[in-house]
């Protein structure tokens, strides 16, 4: 079991854009009973490759071992732990909140504060889109909990190295 108090690690991978790559990667985690908290996959400018960002928690020594075992896979070009590195890190979340017309102003104020935008709205609900780092999204979500959150979905982290170099 992954201990939830353990630190999150952001791992970025460059991989060959071939079928089965994702399974091979997932199996390196599951072999040790490790869970992947979030995952983002997208093709790079060169369509032969994809970039993946994986967030996982666990013993840093074991995660380090997992990362070099990922690098060993034939289809992986590189796998790097980007935790504590100088990177741009963003996530996006959609949050659907139940709110009456009276509560709407308060929700919209919150929304404004976090630079979130309204993407859908009805008589009794409002759907917000927020982008930013994980802490910001966590903070907004926790403030919205005084209203009833109907649904909540969040992308994984997208990561890019700061500076001129490729991630």
């Amino acid at each position: 079991m992954t201990n939830t108090t353990e630190k999150s690690h952001s791992i970025s991978l460059k991989v060959a854009n071939k079928p089965g790559v994702l399974v091979r990667i997932a199996l390196v985690f599951s072999r040790r009973g490790y869970n992947i908290d979030s995952l983002v996959v997208s093709p790079t400018l060169d369509s032969r490759f994809s970039r993946m960002n994986i967030v996982a928690r666990g013993n840093p020594k074991i995660l380090g071992q997992i990362i070099i075992q990922l690098e060993k896979l034939v289809d992986i070009v590189h796998a790097k732990d980007r935790t504590d590195m100088s990177v741009v890190e963003k996530e996006l979340a959609l949050i659907k909140v139940k709110c009456s017309t009276e509560e709407r102003t308060e929700v919209l104020q919150l929304c404004d504060h976090f630079k979130a935008i309204t993407v859908d709205m009805g008589e009794n609900y409002i759907t917000l889109q927020i982008t930013g780092n994980s802490d910001k999204i966590d903070a907004m979500r926790s403030l919205l909990e005084k209203f009833e959150i109907i649904e909540y979905i969040r992308t994984g982290k997208v990561i890019m190295l700061r500076g001129e170099d490729q991630t």
Binding site: A16, G20, G64, Q65, I68, L73, V74, D75
Partner: protein, 572 residues
């Protein structure tokens, strides 16, 4: 022009020819028919096994013997699943295989068609790499890549899943040497700065010990290991799979270390101030309790696989590269060490704690192996099954040459010993006899390959060391579980001599230590195909020395303890 277009199956055979493949091991079935049809006109020899697991171990034995890639060809569904134990065995011991599994037609994939199974999905964790081919035009590149991946870097099995329509469809793509493997790098030399650091540690050592593993053998570094050992005057111990890389009859040799290794090798590990692992991966059979392993020593670790770095323990220097090349980098940077006192201490241990076995009582497996070593003067190829007989072979057969002793080490696959001898015999160019050393348990798992050995008249001497028990499990139950012998009694074993005769293979029998030399000589002199010798051995004999699993090396046991022992904490 049209008739010159090859179909997928013919393309594969042409690729195999270009890779220098002369023999493949396999078993046909519905989806594989196009390949077997193409083989009908081919010069490639097919060894038809009696079970796909057998075919995979044969290819494995062939690869271990020759250093070349072993090729397996089977059908879809159960044909493919039956190879998994063999593929896993090869993966655990870094053996290069290319496994061709036929598959249902592409349009049937995922539809539970007859003999369809998700072969690549089932094998992801036990192959070095794998392919599911969707277009016959990809075949030339994929075949090239598969052979390259299987035999370079840390070798391993590569699986290629081949839908029947891909085998039957036309391939118009040219044969190619080009590969598309942007993520695959083959390590060669280690970093010069790491070499310098390692050399410095070596020069400061007074009690060095070389630990030689399979990586050294695979790399073909026997000469370099010997040169290093002699140059710095350091004793050498080997893992099970490393045996033979450094000659057992060399004065600096300590034989095997670890759970059933020699007392002097294990004492040396505890006392050494430098443990230099050369292509070994600190398996739990070697380290015992990791926290207490090499506490007094600096550790240098050469490995071609970067993922072995810090996996089990953190070395002072990790030399990432091919053993042979790395040793060639290192050799000019080290010079003779003053190790006379250290070697003298080890010599006294050798005299005080030699390997031995009781001479009284019934026929001893140890005696069979020791006699075999003496009669053949070590000029023999041995493929060994798994269990007590395996450990006694490691202890009492003097392996002086690389690629003469073949074991399923990492996987410990019972049933490996006999079929692998078929592959080894086919690949054997030494002119030495091939012995398949098997217990009564493991032999019965794959003995259907007797017909394969017989039909090809392979000169294999099958030595069945029969104690009518699953001896190693019985030993644990004896030592740690109050002699509660549970499901280890192999009551009902066949008459192995008659069994061999049923396959047209002559059988001999020995019941006394005094008969061993004579019956072995008879088997060696027989030259008309395989022969089986049934040794009816002492039923309750235990392998010593022994370090209980998970215990510290210093807890080594050299004879049957008088008191009940704690259950081991380590794995199996």
């Amino acid at each position: 022009m049209k008739e010159n277009i090859l179909n997928g199956a013919e393309t594969i055979l042409e690729c195999l020819k270009r890779e220098g493949v002369e023999t493949l091991f396999g078993y046909p079935g519905g989806s594989a028919i196009p390949l077997f049809d193409a083989l009908y006109d081919s010069n490639i020899k097919v060894v038809l096994s009696r079970h796909e697991q057998g075919a995979t171990h044969m290819a494995d034995g062939y690869a271990r013997q020759t250093g070349k890639v072993g090729v397996v060809l089977v059908t879809s569904g159960p044909g493919a699943t039956n190879t998994i134990t063999g593929i896993y065995t090869a993966m655990m011991d870094s053996v290069p295989l290319v496994v061709l599994t036929a598959q249902t037609i592409t349009s049937n994939l995922g539809k539970d068609a007859f003999q369809e199974c998700d072969t690549s999905g089932m094998t992801f964790t036990t192959v070095k790499h794998s392919y599911l081919v969707k277009d016959p035009n990809d075949l030339p590149r994929i075949m090239k890549e598969a052979f390259h991946i299987a035999q370079t870097g840390r070798p391993g099995p590569v699986l290629i899943d081949l839908p029947k329509d891909v085998l039957a469809g036309p391939c118009t793509a040219p044969f190619t040497d080009e590969m598309d493997l942007p993520g695959y790098k083959v390590p060669t030399y280690a970093k010069e700065s790491d070499i310098d650091e390692a050399a410095k540690i070596i020069q400061n050592s007074k009690k060095p010990l070389l630990l030689v593993g399979h990586g050294a053998m695979i790399s073909g570094a026997s000469r370099q290991v010997k040169e290093l050992a002699e140059k710095i005057n350091a004793p050498v111990t080997s893992t099970l799979l490393g045996l033979g890389t450094f000659p057992a009859n060399h004065p600096l040799s300590l034989g095997m270390l670890g759970m059933h290794g020699t007392v002097f090798a294990n004492k040396a590990i505890v006392e050494a101030d430098l443990i230099f692992s050369i292509g070994s991966r600190f398996d739990d059979r070697i380290t015992g309790k990791v926290e207490e392993f090499g506490q007094n020593a600096k550790i240098i670790h050469i490995d071609i696989d970067a993922a072995e770095k810090n996996k089990i323990l953190k070395p002072d220097v990790f030399l990432h590269g091919d053993v042979k090349l790395v040793l060639e980098q290192l050799l000019p940077k080290v010079s003779s060490l003053k190790t006379e006192a250290w070697n003298k201490t080890i010599d006294t241990w050798k005299k005080r704690f030699p390997l031995s076995y009781p001479r009284q009582g019934g026929l001893r497996m140890q005696h069979v192996i020791r006699t075999l070593s003496e009669i053949t003067q070590g000029k023999a190829i041995l493929t060994v099954d798994v269990g007590q007989h395996q450990m006694w072979t490691a202890q009492f057969f003097d392996a002086n040459y690389p690629r003469q002793l073949h074991n399923s080490g990492g996987a410990g696959t019972m049933g490996f010993g006999f079929p692998s001898s078929i592959g080894a015999a086919i690949g054997n160019t030494t002119g030495w006899p091939v012995f398949s050393i098997v217990g009564d348990g493991g032999f019965q798992m794959t003995m259907s390959e007797l017909s394969t050995a017989a039909i090809h008249k392979l000169p294999i001497k099958i030595l069945v060391l029969d104690n009518k028990y699953l001896g190693m499990v019985r030993q644990w139950q004896d030592m740690f579980y109050d002699k509660r012998y549970s499901s280890v009694d192999l009551e009902g074993n066949p008459n192995f001599v008659k069994l061999a005769e049923a396959y047209g293979i002559p059988g001999l029998r020995a019941r006394r230590n005094a008969d061993v030399a004579k019956v072995l000589q008879k088997a060696i002199d027989y030259n008309d195909g395989p022969i089986l010798v049934h040794f009816e051995c002492e039923k309750e004999d235990n392998v010593f020395p022994m370090i209980p699993a998970g215990a510290s090396i210093t807890s080594i046991i050299t004879e049957t303890p008088k008191v009940k022992l704690e259950k081991p904490t380590g794995s199996t």
